[in-house]
Amino acid sequence: MVVRRVLPTLILIGLVVLTEQVTRITDTRYYLTQLTMTAYYGLVIMGLCLLMGYAGQISLGHAGFFAMGGYLSGLMTTYNLEALKGSSLGSMLTTLNLLVSRKDLYGDVTLSVHPWVSCILAVAFASVVAYLVGGPVLRLKGHYLAMATLGFGIIVYRVVLGSAIFGEADGFSDIPGFAVFPGVEVSGRASVRVANYYLAWGLLTLTLAGLLSLVNSRIGRALRAIHGAEDAARAMGINTPRFKLQVFVLSAALAALAGVLLTHFNGAIGPAQASVMASVRYVAIVAVGGMASLWGTLTMGSVLNMLSLRGYFGSLDDAVFGGILIVIMLFAPDGLLRAHPLARIRSLLRGTEEG
């Protein structure tokens, strides 16, 4: 029983190590960069899988939370607070190590927020926004919820695109690395490539393990109950508004955390990360992974993101994900990994499809 539950996770760890070894032997270390990015996108997708697949609440605004994390951490770690230096507040924050001095690309000394602090603040901010937005929005169902979260995503997109402080169409660049532990820095430098790969996949594996245990618990059952028959769930004493809000905040926090880490890894973030298309991409991956399947979503998400990041889809990148969404909804609404596509095509041709 215990072995059966732990085995898939062990296999995942084995695969992660194996992949790293293969890149070492075949001298294709550059793959690790995209694999690291794939793992961070995996965090967003896992959270969305919990929200959509298990709790049955769609969100077309998760790129907004991702961008919130990335942009806020980017802003705080690059914004020069030199003006604070002389003040007592500035020296207090510096002694507390909340502010750090560093040399930027041009050799000028800048004083900015410590990455750990900015990371925590950015994720906390995104969680609070998710709480405030989720409260009213999660009363909606189906298409209405999709529209409302879409609206939220568009607002975030237009805010980062239109604000000078967020770099408008350019976004941020020159974002410093994030020294998570001494010696382990989240950054795109080739010298720390392997460490970053393991850090990202380690975090993803831990998150996956946590979410797997969550969906198999009392909470997971309650979420699936809400998805399946919300009235009956309420009749069983399940506080449905609170559960929906909690899972929404959790998935938003995961998206924001991914945003923070990927932004420091890339050293940059641009408005495309906040765009509605990015949200649609996350939704498409959860759908193709089988909705209520963390493993399916992880598998399909890793494959598709890797192909996309390596540029296999070329300029048709967005079109591919849009197309995937249509094809999945038509032929395999339960996801690719547990579909019966032939039976589905037959029923579509006969026109016996319902709902």
């Binding site: 393990a209 245990s213 618990s217 009392r218 059952r221 109950a225 309420r234 009749a235 004493g237």
Partner: protein
């Protein structure tokens, strides 16, 4: 006997339609009470008002002397009132056992954080909930369905699973919305036996029903609704002889039967 449920002057309108108009009644502890009435009499509306799925325009619902009419349905469930639905609402893509375990929800306490971190005490709670659910299923003689997907069961079995899920809440008051709807004669008789057994477990039952044979055989008291108003409330024999009831309810039914 104590009054476990007391409904006073309950009113609810839908637009111009007075679905429930000034209805009062009570359910004593340990009783089986039935609410009957022709189609559209307001029975289901009354049920939804009592269980918190609808809010009344006016009137009070007292559960063990506590006013619950303004509480959300899930809070009322936590105060000891469980219910079933006329159109069964089992959780799809979940096994029968999981369905019943959702019924145990309010008797567990593992939240998001302990469950995410898989804390050891959540395992023993999970084992306990599983065992309690299986015990209850054994008592209702449906333990052999534990691993089957609940929504793939036969109709009569689904009714039994829904009943089991509601009982898993360990309610003091159980509300059954047309428990015999869609059941054949044999299944209806079984359901009647089951409802009597539930009462013998010490659970008070309020049921809305169409099937007169079921109601008259097992109920301690019967209230009759007609166009949103209560026209009778008495022991079954007296209700059957009540001329107004015969006119609006049995009379119509008899006329249709012939």
């Amino acid at each position: 006997m104590e009054r476990l449920l007391e409904v006073r002057n309950l009113c609810r309108r839908f637009g111009g339609l007075k679905a429930v108009e000034n209805v009062s009644f009570s359910v004593k502890e340990g009783q089986i009470k039935a609410v009957i009435g022709p189609n559209g009499a307001g029975k289901t509306t009354l049920f939804n008002l009592v269980s918190g799925f609808l809010k009344p325009d006016s009137g009070t619902v007292l559960l063990d002397r506590l006013a619950v009419q303004d509480l959300p349905s899930y809070s009322i469930a936590r105060k000891g009132m469980a219910r079933t639905f006329q159109h069964m609402k089992l959780f799809p893509k979940m096994s029968t056992l999981e369905n019943v375990m959702v019924g145990r929800h309010i008797h567990g306490r593992a939240g998001f954080v302990p469950s995410f971190f898989n804390l050891p005490w959540t395992w023993s709670e999970e084992r306990r909930m599983r065992r309690e659910a299986l015990d209850l299923m054994t008592r209702l003689d449906i333990e052999n369905l534990a691993e089957t997907e609940a929504t793939s069961l036969a109709y009569g079995q689904q009714r039994m699973v829904e009943l089991c899920r509601a009982l898993a809440c360990s309610p003091r008051l159980l509300l059954l919305d047309e428990p015999a709807a869609g059941l054949n004669m044999r299944e209806t008789a079984e359901m009647a036996k089951m409802i009597s057994r539930i009462r013998d477990m010490g659970i008070t039952v309020l049921l809305v029903e169409h099937d007169m044979s079921l109601v008259m055989n097992i109920s301690d008291e019967v209230a009759v609704l007609c166009y949103g108003q209560k026209i009778a409330d008495d022991v079954p024999l007296a209700v059957q002889k009540n001329p107004e009831v015969v006119r609006v309810y049995l009379g119509e039914e008899n006329a249709q039967d012939s």
